[in-house]
Amino acid sequence: MFNKDRWREILEVLTSNVWRTIFTAFGVCWGIFILIVLLAAGKGLENGIKKDFGDIATNTMFMWTRATTRAYEGLPQGRRFEFKIDDVQAIRDNVPNLRFISPRNQLGGFGGNNNVVRGIRTGAYNVYGDYPEIINQDPMSVTSGRFLNYNDINEKRKVAIIGLGVRNDLYDQDEDPLGTYIKIQGVNFMVIGTYKKNNSGGGEEGQKEIFVPFTSFSQAFNRGEDVGWMAITAEDGSSISNLKDKIVNVMKDRHKVHPEDTRAVGYFDLYEQYNRVESLFGALKAVAYIVGIMVLLSGIIGVSNIMLIVVKERTKEIGIRRALGEQPWSIKKQILMESIFLTLISGMVGIIFGSLVIFGINSLLDSVGPVDMFMSPSVSVGVVSGALTILMVSGLLAGFIPAQSAIKVRPIEALRTE
């Protein structure tokens, strides 16, 4: 394999007609370039879409109550009901494999009125009553101070963690918000921390949230035992999509909802959405591979063609070599190696060229700022090594027919060729 003479010969043959070699190489180069760029574009789209999921634990469902649509056990149709704090324990007791169950209450919302006041500044923010676990389901990084803990919950402390957006609205640039008070619907809360959401999940809105302990929220805003909605995350091994019916049924049972009332308990299965997106990108990737390999195929046929011509041109030389005693297998190996070498080198050029284009797009994206639904296109090492394997195999295939034809000619006929 690493025979100096053989390699010298390969180089001699391939450089004897430089332009022909370059044009042939271009076919393969182009094919692999298309493959790489398509895969990177698919990845960029995937990154862009997945960004919208943010860091949210994707194996999660959200559940809330609506009016019943069927009468049941003497209760009328159209009845409104609320989840209670006891429901959390009931779900935990009845449904296995759940990792987090966070009951949540909420103030404000999209287009809400100003509900938070600090001094002369006011703003409209989403205010959540939460348990400390919520940080695992809706990840954020605490930039100063701390997040909620169970002492806050148990002692019903009126403390709040505010987003950077809130901080920028209500405080001066050089002010330290920690230890200050903000008034949420007339109730004072002490700011104990600020957070920043890493990915702009929900965009600007995500940074304009305020988290307070669930218990203090209930007490301060008269929610009693009520729970507005729940965020439930399953353990890694099991899918929330499979568990959601069980959870909903527990709720129906506890709140005297007709078992066939499909509208009384509303839910959103994030995992299902996520999976749908995942399979979409799987299909996209398959299309990229198919198109790329098809383009590559025409390049491979080009290589095969040129190798046939090379063999034809060298018929006499092959005859001489065989007369001097070169083994047919050795000649075959020579042709195959030339073909693989040509394919691999031109493929690598294609990969490098593709990577440069991807790099260019990335730095362009960096300079103009984020674009909707497209982010950092890239190809993984796995894809590159996959591409190299494809090249290796196709080089072998491209060389096979020419190599076969090289040793099919009998030496005497080869020698007669002028």
Partner: protein, 233 residues
């Protein structure tokens, strides 16, 4: 050294077949210098090709140094050619992108002789044909006579049992022809067995034995007084 018995060979040309060799019986001892003569179409090149294992006979026996040559696979034939035979062609058949030295070293490469040893040996044979200063030249930079001498050095390099020369002087003028024949005679003097196919009388008379072929049979086989080529050089 070479022994053939009742050798037949015919070529198919479309529907009719051409009977080229019609029962050749022929023996060559070690150290002989044999000229095979005949007009074109007499079958002399075919005979040489069969002797050179480049072509197979239809029937008959062929023994080379006691080894029966029959139904060889291409791999085996290549091995035997490399071990037993050296070829000298009319058109030299040097590989034109390789230097004289590399051309001479080629048969040794197929014997898997290490690179350094190969080059030393090749250089030794180039020196013997008087072309050491041209070792690094490409065939295109050599004259016809020089090319044929490189080809002879290449044929000798593997130290074969028999040298087969197909019209070795066919493409050369007479002065160069004699130079080449002089070289062939000297190689023969060292005890090498050489077969020369030619249609030139003067070249044939520089051998020690002339075999005349006509229409696929041997019509004459005589030992002759060798004319030394030295005197013309």
């Amino acid at each position: 050294m070479i022994e053939i018995k009742d050798l037949h060979k015919s070529y198919k040309m479309g529907s009719n077949s051409l009977h080229v060799l019609k029962g050749i019986n022929f023996k060559v001892e070690e150290g002989e210098l044999v000229a095979i003569m005949g007009s074109s179409g007499s079958g002399k090149s075919t005979l040489l090709n069969i002797l050179g294992m480049l072509d197979g006979a239809d029937s008959g026996e062929y023994n080379l140094d006691g080894v029966p040559i029959k139904n060889l696979s291409e791999t085996k034939a290549a091995q035997y050619r490399n071990k037993f035979l050296g070829f000298i062609f009319q058109s030299f058949n040097l590989i034109n992108y390789k230097s004289a030295l590399e051309n001479v070293a080629l048969p040794l490469y197929y014997q898997k002789v290490p690179r350094k040893e190969r080059q030393e040996k090749a250089m030794k044979y180039l020196e013997r044909v008087g072309l050491k200063p041209w070792a690094s030249h490409l065939p295109s930079e050599l004259s016809g006579g020089q090319k044929q001498r490189v080809a002879i050095a290449r044929a000798m390099a593997a130290e074969p049992k028999v040298l087969l020369a197909d019209e070795p002087t066919g493409a050369l003028d007479s002065t160069t022809s004699y130079e080449v024949m002089d070289l062939i005679q000297k190689i023969n003097d060292e005890g090498n067995t050489i077969l020369v196919v030619t249609h030139e009388e003067d070249i044939a008379h520089m051998c020690k034995r002339i075999v005349h072929l006509k229409d696929g049979v041997i019509v004459e086989d005589k030992k002759i007084e060798q004319v030394r080529a030295e005197q013309y050089v």
